[in-house]
């Protein structure tokens, strides 16, 4: 058994990059990758490599081969056709590249295992880790390393943050990347690993679990390549930071004839569900949930229980929130006596002092602030859900500021529910950018809180 080649530090944060197959012809993958490195302002050295011998590409001196560069190269990004890949990979090895991302497709995914085996052989010969082939590769928001061949004009790049996203699939990966940008929460790293010829999800999860710039890992997978190895390191990783996972391919194949009731019930998907719940993964049921959970974990502290204090400026939404809490295994508690007494003194007589705390359609920043600070100090409450309908006369940017203020104290997890379009979004995007997750429905917020509760239990914060 050869030593596992899995140190991807220089692939993720390279000081120098050679783009093999770089081009400036419209519509080529090699053009998009070069353009991105130029557009996002990559801080390291960039060497375009093209066999045609043109002297420069996008204003950078170009080389016929990576061997002509004669400078240290950390990462080789390879986007030449499949049948030319092993040759240039071999040259990258000779040039002592510290790693390679192979974007090119046409390997085991189309039955060319022979071509892929050749890549593995070269990787072993030079002890050079490879991500891919058939992948989007890597994006690191801090070093601005970006091997994605998705033009910046077509897909938004998220702001810098603590969520790292790992996806086997390139297409799911890129659509989630676009969605993350829209959600207004921050990304640390994006890694799409495709066929996983050398570096696979076990190596990537291991790396991210130790990465100080990552505080949440969001994972899309269709199947584990090394399930046994994954079980060996899974608890270490999930104890270090939350992993939100979406498993694609949920339909049971049912090919194996079962001789027992157990075997007929314990199909491969149920085995995955069992693995996820036993090893502390937070499982999402779809792309939306992946985002809902990602943003609560990125910004909010863990909670000490499942009692949720709801503040609302709309009565009906308070009722929906109470339902949503119940359906998701959460509790709407009673206010503690002295907190209730204080609130009675502060709030006008139209406000009933009980949860959900309906502070009225005319509530402005004063009432929101008072309610938030009361619930923050109430020992009966573990998490705060603030329903803020910006359509009401009292709600404006001062209410948004009041919420951001309360959340910045990080005493308890706070989430916001806000439903609406243009005017609402102008405020919620500021709230989210300030690190408070916003959800469009009480149900979405309750599901996210429930995920936080689950992980807080796993971590032992909830006894």
């Amino acid at each position: 058994m050869p030593v596992k080649i899995n140190n991807i530090e220089k692939i993720v944060k390279p000081g120098s990059v050679a783009v093999i197959g770089a081009s400036d012809k419209h519509g080529k993958v090699g053009t998009a990758i070069m353009q991105n490195y130029v557009d996002v302002g990559f801080q390291g050295k960039l060497y375009p490599i093209n066999i045609s011998g043109q002297p420069s590409i996008m204003g950078k001196k170009a080389y016929k081969s990576i061997l002509d560069v004669k400078e240290p190269i950390d990462l080789a990004v390879i986007c030449v056709p499949a049948d030319a890949t092993s040759k240039v990979l071999n040259e990258a090895g000779k040039a002592k590249a510290k790693g390679a991302v192979i974007v090119t497709s046409g390997f085991s995914e189309v039955g060319r295992k022979d071509l892929q085996d050749e890549l593995i052989r070269i990787s072993n010969a030079y002890k050079m880790p490879i991500i891919g082939p058939n992948c989007l590769g890597v994006m690191d928001t801090r070093s601005r390393n970006d091997t994605l061949f998705l033009p910046t004009a077509k897909i938004d790049r998220p702001k810098i943050g603590g969520v790292s996203f790992v996806s086997q699939s390139g297409s799911v990966g890129s659509s989630i990347l676009d969605l993350i940008s829209g959600e207004g929460f921050g990304l640390s790293k994006f890694i799409s690993y495709g066929n996983a010829a050398v570096v696979d999800e076990v190596d990537i999860l291991d790396y991210l679990s130790k990465d100080k710039d990552t505080n949440v890992i969001v994972l899309y997978m269709e199947g584990a390549r090394r399930a046994k190895e994954l079980t060996l390191i899974a608890k270490k990783i999930t104890k270090a930071k939350p992993i939100v996972v979406l498993k694609g391919g949920r339909t049971e194949s049912g090919s194996k004839a079962a001789h027992s009731h157990t075997a007929s019930l314990a199909g491969s998907n149920n085995a995955y569900h069992a693995f996820f719940s036993q090893f502390g993964f937070i499982e999402a049921e779809g792309l939306e949930e992946l985002l809902w959970y990602g943003k609560i974990f990125e910004t909010q502290p863990l909670c000490k229980g499942n009692r949720v204090g709801v503040i609302t400026n709309g009565g009906g939404h308070g009722v929906l929130a109470a339902d949503a809490l119940y359906q998701n295994g959460l509790i709407l508690p009673e206010l503690s006596a002295n907190i209730a007494k204080n609130l009675r003194k502060i709030m006008p007589s139209i406000v009933n002092i009980r949860l959900p705390l309906d502070i009225g359609g005319d509530a402005g920043a004063d009432r929101f602030s008072a309610a938030l600070s009361a619930l923050s100090s109430d020992p009966n409450i573990d998490v705060i859900m603030t329903i803020t309908l910006f359509q009401t006369p009292g709600a404006d940017e001062s209410v948004a500021s009041a919420i951001i203020d309360a959340a910045s104290r990080k005493e308890k997890p706070i989430v916001v529910v806000s439903t609406g379009s243009t005017y609402t979004k102008s405020h919620t995007s500021i709230i989210e950018a300030s690190g408070v997750p916003v959800y469009e429905s009480p149900d979405a917020a309750a599901k996210a809180i429930s995920a936080l509760v689950k992980y807080s239990k796993y971590k032992g914060v909830i006894k």
């Binding site: 399930a227 046994k228 079980t231 009731h261 075997a263 019930l265 314990a266 069992a274 693995f275």
Partner: protein, 209 residues
């Protein structure tokens, strides 16, 4: 293939997993001797090919006199012949009245290896599909979390004592499944009764031909 009945019982006993008193009989006289004038017995056909015994009429219950035992013996033989089961055996057991039926099972997943299952048992297994699954071996906390995951947790484990009973049984079965080369395993039903339990039916499949 299905592990033979006596070897399977021996393994259960080795891991101190309680099972109801039973015997393989080749004549109805043997069956009457086993009954020995005490209470009720059940009689059933066991075979590689008979997974759904009740559905196929391969189980007789509430037998409490020699005539009933003799009739049941002859009927089961006739049905086994009709179903072309090939090799089969007839087993008699003491009958447990009342109690709650659970299933504890084992399976090998292609990705994750040995798995253990707990569910509402007997004829409800496939109707309600109320079960919890974990990778082997499990810890005691995981055993409790399996119980809590069931919709029927209040039915099968209604107090601290019964939770403890099921959790420790799960640990024994997890150990047995981890240490032996079974590929599939059903202990179904295990009947919870009188503050204890008894495995009533079992299928242990080994991959050794």
């Amino acid at each position: 293939m299905l592990l033979n009945y006596n070897s399977a019982i021996k393994i259960l006993n080795k891991y101190k997993i309680r099972n109801v008193e039973s015997a393989i009989v080749s004549t109805y006289d043997d069956a009457v001797k086993f009954w020995n004038g005490k209470g009720m017995i059940t009689m059933k056909v066991i075979s590689d090919k008979a997974l759904h015994k009740s559905k196929n009429g391969l189980v007789s219950l509430y037998l409490s006199n020699p005539k009933q035992i003799q009739d049941a013996f002859l009927i089961l033989k006739k049905r086994a012949l009709k179903l072309k089961l090939g090799k089969y055996k007839i087993v008699v057991q003491r009958m447990i009245l009342g109690g709650t039926e659970i299933i504890i099972g084992g399976n090998i997943d292609q990705q994750f290896g040995k798995m253990i299952l707990l569910g509402l048992g007997g004829i409800y297994v496939e109707t309600f599909k109320d079960f919890a699954l974990r990778l082997c071996p499990i810890s005691k906390n995981e055993a409790f979390s399996m119980i809590d995951q069931l919709k029927s947790s209040n039915i099968i484990a209604h107090d601290a004592k019964s939770r403890e009973l099921i959790a420790s049984l799960l640990l024994k079965v997890s150990k047995m499944f981890s240490e032996n080369d079974f590929v599939e395993m059903d202990l179904n039903p295990i009947i919870l009764h009188d503050e204890t339990y008894d495995a009533v039916d079992l299928r242990l499949m080994s991959d050794k031909g």
